[in-house]
Symmetry: C2
Subunit: 215 residues, 2 copies
């Protein structure tokens, strides 16, 4: 056995260290990109947050843009996965309610990702334009079909599904993207558990009644 390239322990260990390093860098990058934007973020600052020398970042991610691209991709996939609750529901109040809960939980637990996504889209989606045109468009069309079925079945009013989805995205992501403004208006304090609960309940109630959900 002259070949050692397949020896499991060493290979695994190497892969592990690489994955750990990449995850560490991606996490630091998400934080810095969300706070400073792509242009305002520096590789030096990301390296400092990750606790690594700057050159290591360029070893794992050749350019600043490639690092940013992976950050945005990771956010997009997490976000899509969490959105699947939409399908496992009988009617609009249940499905949309679960979707609001899921998205509000993301806004609360991972506001950085939401901000990076918002910033990317606001600047014309230079990096993830293809995702918008393919994956996001397909997901959206699928959800529109579900909503149209609910309408056809008389389970909710005849609301334009597209504008309903935009309202759901806007309202839930607002609590992440504009979290600083909300906290300031809240007496410069982060929302409490109870206030997050109130926010969810208010949104679900307004939208559920607003679309005439009857499930």
């Amino acid at each position: 056995m002259p070949e050692s390239s397949n020896s499991p322990p060493k290979s695994n260990s190497k892969k592990m260290r690489r994955q750990e390093a990449e995850a560490l860098i991606l996490s630091a990058a998400e934080k810095v990109f969300s706070e400073a934007g792509f242009g305002g973020a520096t590789m030096q600052l990301i390296a400092d947050v990750a606790g690594l020398p700057k050159a290591n970042l360029h070893y794992y991610f050749p350019t600043k843009e490639s690092l940013y691209r992976q950050v945005v991709q990771k956010i997009f996939l997490d976000w899509l996965k969490a959105a699947d609750v939409f399908d496992h529901a009988d009617g609009p109040a249940e499905g949309i309610g679960a979707y609001i809960d899921a998205k509000m939980e993301i806004s609360r637990r991972h506001p950085e990702g939401s901000k990076v996504w918002a910033s990317e889209v606001m600047h014309g989606a230079p990096v993830i334009q293809d995702y918008l045109e393919t994956t996001l468009k397909e997901w959206t069309d699928g959800r529109i079909a579900v909503i149209e079925r609910w309408i056809a079945e008389g389970r909710m009013d005849a609301i334009d599904p597209r504008h309903l989805l935009y309202m759901l995205w806007a309202t839930t992501q607002h609590y992440a993207d504009f979290g600083h403004q909300i906290a300031t208006l809240n007496g410069s304090t982060e929302l409490t558990d109870a206030q997050w609960q109130e926010a969810k309940e208010n949104i679900k109630r307004i939208i559920s009644r607003g679309i005439g959900a009857r499930d």
Copy 2:
């Protein structure tokens, strides 16, 4: 009359030129800041868009940050002024409906301003934190009082005014801040007049019914 500092024509002419130049620069800066973010924007690019040499920008605005500050301030004031329709209304459906119309019109006509504002808040409002704590807080408290009066008068359901306002801001500004995503999902075409009208009607209908407006 040895003093000529008060001579109206010359003084006016000078002031006019200064105001014109400042307005030109502010307009170019708003555009560039909204497309590239504060960190991504360069004084050179703003100068090119304005059609002026770079040094002229520093003559009218000493630093990049001072220029950015004035852009954000201008947006904030325009936005506050347009929000006053809230008060000249008898009930929630009329007042909130007019507010939605006004904010959607801003999103449509001045999406750049909305994006700059969003970016500023997302990055922790480093420049306009004091506005959030004073002017915006006062405006918000005033509108909360109006909504609470409507609730007390039985003109709408007992919705938390704060979360209702956040929903209004989120939904209307989404059409500016995420306009690129919406256009992409619209077949890579900007929304037509009719689609903007549909958006407004859908939002007003969902929210008006969602809060049980009875005016």
